[in-house]
C-alpha cells in the first residue's frame, strides 16, 4: 500500500482549505451579509462537494497521521500491522466522514 502520498495530498488540500475556514470566520465577524454569502456557497452543489471533500481530507489525514505517530514511537512495523493501520486509516476516514455528514444533516445542517 502506498498511502503515504495520500497523506501528503490530503495535507496539501487541507492547506488550501484553510482559506475556506478563514473566510467563514471573517464572514461571521463581518456581519449578516458576508455570512449569507458563505452560507450560499456552502449550500450550493459545488460548495457542498468541497466541504465534503474537506471533511474527508481532514479525517483521513487525522487517522493516517495517528498511524505515523504510532510508527514514530516504534510500533506497528510488522507487515500485518502496517496493513491493518493503513486500511484502518483508509476505511475509518471514509466511514467517519459519512457518519459525520449523516449527523450534520440530522441536526439540521442541510437547511
Amino acid at each position: 500500500m502506498a498511502l503515504s502520498i495520500v497523506h501528503r495530498l490530503t495535507g496539501v488540500a487541507l492547506y488550501f482549505g484553510t482559506l475556506l475556514l478563514a473566510w467563514w470566520l471573517i464572514a461571521a465577524a463581518s456581519g449578516p451579509t458576508a455570512y449569507a454569502h458563505v452560507q450560499a456557497f456552502t449550500s450550493s452543489f459545488l460548495g457542498r462537494l468541497i466541504v465534503f471533500g474537506y471533511t474527508w481530507a481532514l479525517l483521513h489525514h487525522l487517522l493516517s497521521g495517528i498511524r505515523h505517530l504510532v510508527w514514530d514511537l516504534g510500533y506497528g512495523f510488522k507487515a500485518s500491522e502496517r496493513e491493518a493501520l493503513t486500511w484502518g486509516a483508509l476505511i475509518g476516514g471514509i466511514c467517519l466522514t459519512v457518519l459525520l455528514w449523516i449527523a450534520a444533516y440530522a441536526i439540521g445542517g442541510g437547511r
Binding site: V12, L19, L25
Partner: protein, 135 residues
C-alpha cells in the same frame, strides 16, 4: 590573550560534523518535533472542534457569532488555528523541499508558504477575537 572558553571551541567535533544533518531546511530537527507536537495537539482538539462546527450548522450570523464569541469556543478554535497553521507551514515546507530543486525557486516558495500560513492564521485569530469582544 585569553582563549574563548566556549563549548564550540573546546569541542573536538569538526565544523562539518556540527552542521551535518541540519538538512535542506538548515534548521535541524526542531521542525520534526514541532510537527509531532502540533499533530498531537490537534488529535486532542479534533473532537471539541467537530462539536463546535456541529453546533454552528444551520444557524444564521447572529447565532453563529454568539457561539463563536463565547470564551470556551473561542479558546478551542484559537488553539486549533495556531496548531494547524504551524503544522501546515512545516508540512508544506517539507513538500517544497522535496519537490522544488532550484534553490531560488525553493527560497521563494518557502517564503510564500510562511506568508500564507501566517496570514491565514492571523486573519482567523483576528476574526475570533473580534467576535469575542462583541463589536
Amino acid at each position: 590573550m585569553t582563549a574563548p572558553n566556549t563549548e564550540a571551541t573546546r569541542s573536538m567535533r569538526t565544523p562539518l560534523a556540527r552542521v551535518r544533518n541540519l538538512g535542506a531546511s538548515h534548521s535541524g530537527t526542531s521542525d520534526f518535533w514541532r510537527q509531532r507536537l502540533t499533530a498531537v495537539a490537534m488529535v486532542l482538539l479534533m473532537v471539541p472542534v467537530i462539536v463546535v462546527v456541529m453546533m454552528l450548522l444551520g444557524r444564521n450570523q447572529a447565532g453563529a457569532a454568539q457561539i463563536l464569541g463565547s470564551p470556551l469556543v473561542a479558546i478551542i478554535l484559537l488553539l486549533f488555528i495556531i496548531a494547524s497553521a504551524w503544522h501546515m507551514k512545516i508540512g508544506m515546507q517539507v513538500v517544497i523541499e522535496d519537490y522544488v530543486q532550484h534553490e531560488t525557486t525553493k527560497l521563494v516558495a518557502v517564503m510564500a508558504n510562511n506568508f500564507f500560513s501566517i496570514a491565514v492564521a492571523l486573519a482567523s485569530i483576528y476574526a475570533i477575537l473580534k467576535l469575542s469582544s462583541g463589536v
